[in-house]
């Protein structure tokens, strides 16, 4: 199997789906001839033709709306929003339209669209190239929200998203595009090819939405993470010398509550991590769910490690980013080992 980085794996997913299904098409700002600013759609226009992978006007609202219209016709559009930070002009179309089309028409119309967008910090992108806005989508009934953490999952989850009959917001952790990142930012970037999860089959396969993965097995404590923070949590477990079980949620909606419940009931301790701002973040939902499902098995208060309640500051990237030290400290608190 070829070793692929995340960019290649995502590209391969779209390539496979464009080949398999004539109703799939890909569009967004700069995705056509140029292949996208992160090169995720490179070569797709050349291979599949001008009308199957093309550029879009700079109008995120228009991009989402056009995709909804195409979906109503019967196509399966895959759209790219250049950065998650630029999704907001499309928010109304997602929340008021895509999310509710099925419900309000009693299944008469649906929006089988996949919206791909790079999210997260760690690239010195400042407040307009670093945001993690997943919680404002998980809050909306009718949208699915998916976040992969490695090339294998990225391809399999993207194929599932494209094949899914409901609208899926697919967040791509941009700091993981070229290699895993565990938050020790002074370390040189390692290529994905050194990791097993870069073994990506060329052809069609899928990773189901709503199924979490155990990224690191452990007995002492459960970490709930997704995207970049999966790698940070694994590094933090080593740093804290805690035998943590790191659960990679992979999809936030639908959420794999069984895997979470089984693990927390077994370890009795839980740390929830995300890069997004803290208040009303997806972590709040996770903490509430763990409390509802595992309260009588908990041996310590649930810890939450997140980005601060500020915009993402350019010069203070590493103070903002919830790195392994902060996650490790939370793990040790949860273990009562200050």
């Amino acid at each position: 199997m070829p070793a692929m980085n995340m960019i290649q794996a995502l590209n391969s997913a779209m390539d496979v789906m464009l080949t398999k299904d004539p109703d799939v098409l890909v569009f967004g700002e700069d995705v056509g001839y140029f292949g996208g600013v992160f090169r995720v759609t490179e070569g797709l226009q050349k291979k599949h033709g001008l009308t199957r992978c093309f550029d879009a006007p700079i109008a995120e609202g228009g991009i989402v709306a056009a995709a909804i219209g195409m979906g109503a016709y019967g196509l399966r559009p895959v759209i790219e929003i250049q950065f998650a930070d630029y999704i907001y002009p499309g928010y109304d179309q997602l929340v008021s339209e895509a999310a509710r089309l099925r419900y309000r028409s009693a299944g008469d119309f649906t929006a089988p669209i996949t919206l791909r967008t790079p999210y997260g910090g760690g690239i010195f992108g400042g407040q307009t190239h670093s945001q993690s806005p997943e919680a404002i989508f998980t809050h909306v009934a009718g949208l699915k929200t998916v976040i992969p953490s490695n090339p294998y999952d990225a391809k399999g989850l993207l194929i599932s998203a494209i094949e899914d009959d409901d609208p899926v917001i697919f967040f791509e952790p941009k700091r993981l595009y070229n290699g895993p990142f565990d938050g020790w930012h002074e370390k040189p970037v390692e290529p994905w090819s050194k990791y097993d999860l870069s073994d990506v089959p060329d052809g069609h396969y899928s990773v189901p939405l709503g199924k979490a993965a155990i990224a690191r097995a452990g007995d002492e404590l459960t970490v709930l993470a997704y995207g970049t923070m999966v790698h940070v949590a694994i590094a933090a477990a080593a740093h804290a010398e805690v035998d943590a079980e790191v659960i990679d949620l992979r999809s936030l909606v639908p959420l794999d509550i069984e895997t979470i419940t089984e693990s927390v009931n077994r370890t009795g301790r839980c740390v929830v991590v995300h890069e997004a701002t803290r208040t009303s973040g997806f972590g709040a939902e996770l903490v509430a769910l763990v409390q509802e499902h595992c309260f009588y098995r908990l041996e310590a208060p649930i810890e939450r490690v997140t980005g601060w309640d500020t915009p993402y500051p350019h010069a203070f990237e590493w103070e903002y980013f919830p790195g392994p030290k902060r996650v490790a400290a939370a793990m040790r608190r949860a273990m009562g080992r200050n």
């Binding site: 550029d55 109008a59 630029y86 309640d309 500020t310 500051p313 350019h314």
Partner: protein, 415 residues
């Protein structure tokens, strides 16, 4: 019997996707750009109804002719001192851009954006409006800020996110702010600030002020809904605002056809809103000056907004993250039929006996020197990562007063 579409024997539909005239490896093709002769466009009275000047949205207002003379009704008949000042600002801007681009390459900052080839658009406009007027720029109007006399050192401090950065290390490089210089803080989200310029202008009108607003948007970003909101509000409330569309032909890798520039001019968008519209040779300093002055006079006379398409060319890469040779012929910039704004103003000044090549050489040397001196001062404070404001500032200005969450989070960082 009713005929179904298939029985009508009509061709099937086909989806059209725009394609630019030339991609890498193709010969450059600007044959569709046929600039009208300088001096040909009429200059209406500012009291003219927008509907009576529709033609100005489809031509190009040009002042400088092939012989480098200023001709026609739009010639602003400027004092040579103003022209030399314009040349100075443009030359300084270019030297500044070149240096900051190099500093990014050397790892002294994370990002930079040049305005090479578009210097006249912002410089002439800055000189044509009043000091109190408010500019709502995009990231490509640095020449406007320089023209307002804002210190280069401060700009560099922002680029380096250092301890003296006026944005306190929070913003991506080039997102300057300076209220006192009439420069609205740049957002980075495209199009958002265009209707805000209209709101500022409405406020000025509400207060019985004399100040006007000057807004900017790239042609690619006119696709955003905010562009249309700006025109609607400007039209409805006759806001005293100049709305500039900088058509530099490219939006990263997307040519202006992806903003529907093949079907109509960008100036023509004003017509549907009943907004006075001009299409201007953006590389002609005198034309930009004259058009801006005309629009400013209209706005100040309570006659409402003007939409100006500044027709120009993005000669450099979109940003330091971009490589234009991947999507357009590498030699395209050299073939831009409307030339270079600095060169054209220089030639005009030489032709009118106000300048010389030797003086230009000296000016360029002085510009490089001024930029170098500023860089020395700014780098003494520090470049990205070497120096920055105190980390506690990252929790300030989220609100006027931080609430308990921010205080607690700041304590957790230990600052």
């Amino acid at each position: 019997m009713e005929l179904t579409p298939d029985m009508r024997n009509e061709p099937t539909l086909s989806l059209r996707v725009p394609v630019p005239r030339a991609r890498p490896g193709d010969p450059v093709d600007f044959s569709h750009i046929k600039p009208p002769p300088a001096g040909a466009a009429p200059r209406p009275d500012i009291r003219e109804e927008p509907g009576a000047m529709r033609d100005l949205a489809f031509t190009l207002v040009r002042v400088l002719n092939e012989e480098h003379e200023a001709v026609g009704p739009w010639d602003p008949k400027l004092d040579p001192a103003v022209l030399r000042r314009g040349l100075e600002i443009m030359t300084l801007t270019r030297a500044y851009d070149d240096r900051m681009m190099r500093m990014q390459r050397q790892g002294k900052t994370s990002f930079y954006m040049k305005c090479t080839g578009e210097e006249a658009v912002a410089t002439a406009a800055a000189l044509a409006v009043d000091a109190g007027d408010m500019c709502f720029p995009t990231y490509r109007q640095q020449a406007f800020l320089i023209a307002r006399g804002y210190p280069l050192v401060q700009m560099m401090n922002q680029i380096y996110s250092n301890a003296d950065d006026p944005c306190k290390g929070r913003q991506l490089p080039v997102m300057y702010t300076s209220k006192k210089d009439g420069w609205f803080t740049i957002s980075g989200n495209l199009g958002t600030q265009f209707p805000q310029a209209v709101g500022w202008a409405m406020a000025s009108a509400y207060k019985g002020d004399h100040r006007i607003a000057v807004g900017y948007i790239g042609e690619g970003s006119t696709a955003e809904g905010d562009f249309h909101a700006a025109l609607t509000f400007a039209s409805v409330y006759r806001a005293p605002v100049i709305l500039n569309v900088v058509n530099n032909q490219w939006a990263i890798s997307s040519f202006q056809g992806f903003a529907a520039g093949e079907s109509a001019t960008f100036a023509a968008r004003g017509i549907g809103y009943g907004v006075a519209a001009l299409r201007v040779d953006g590389n002609d300093f005198l034309a930009v000056y004259a058009a801006t002055k005309w629009a400013a006079e209209r706005a100040r006379a309570n006659l409402g907004p003007t939409l100006i398409e500044m027709f120009t060319y993005r000669a450099a890469a979109h940003s330091t993250s971009d490589d234009p040779s991947r999507y357009r012929p590498a030699e395209e910039p050299q073939h831009w039929p409307l030339g270079d704004p600095i060169e054209r103003l220089k030639q005009h000044l030489i032709a009118s006996g106000e300048w010389s090549d030797a003086k230009q050489k000296t000016l360029e040397k002085e510009a490089v020197e001024a930029v170098r001196a500023a860089a020395k001062e700014s780098e003494a404070v520090g470049t990205l990562g070497q120096s920055r404001p105190s980390a506690k500032t990252m929790f300030e200005d989220v609100y006027k007063e931080p609430d308990w969450r921010l205080r607690r989070q700041r304590q957790e960082v230990g600052v």
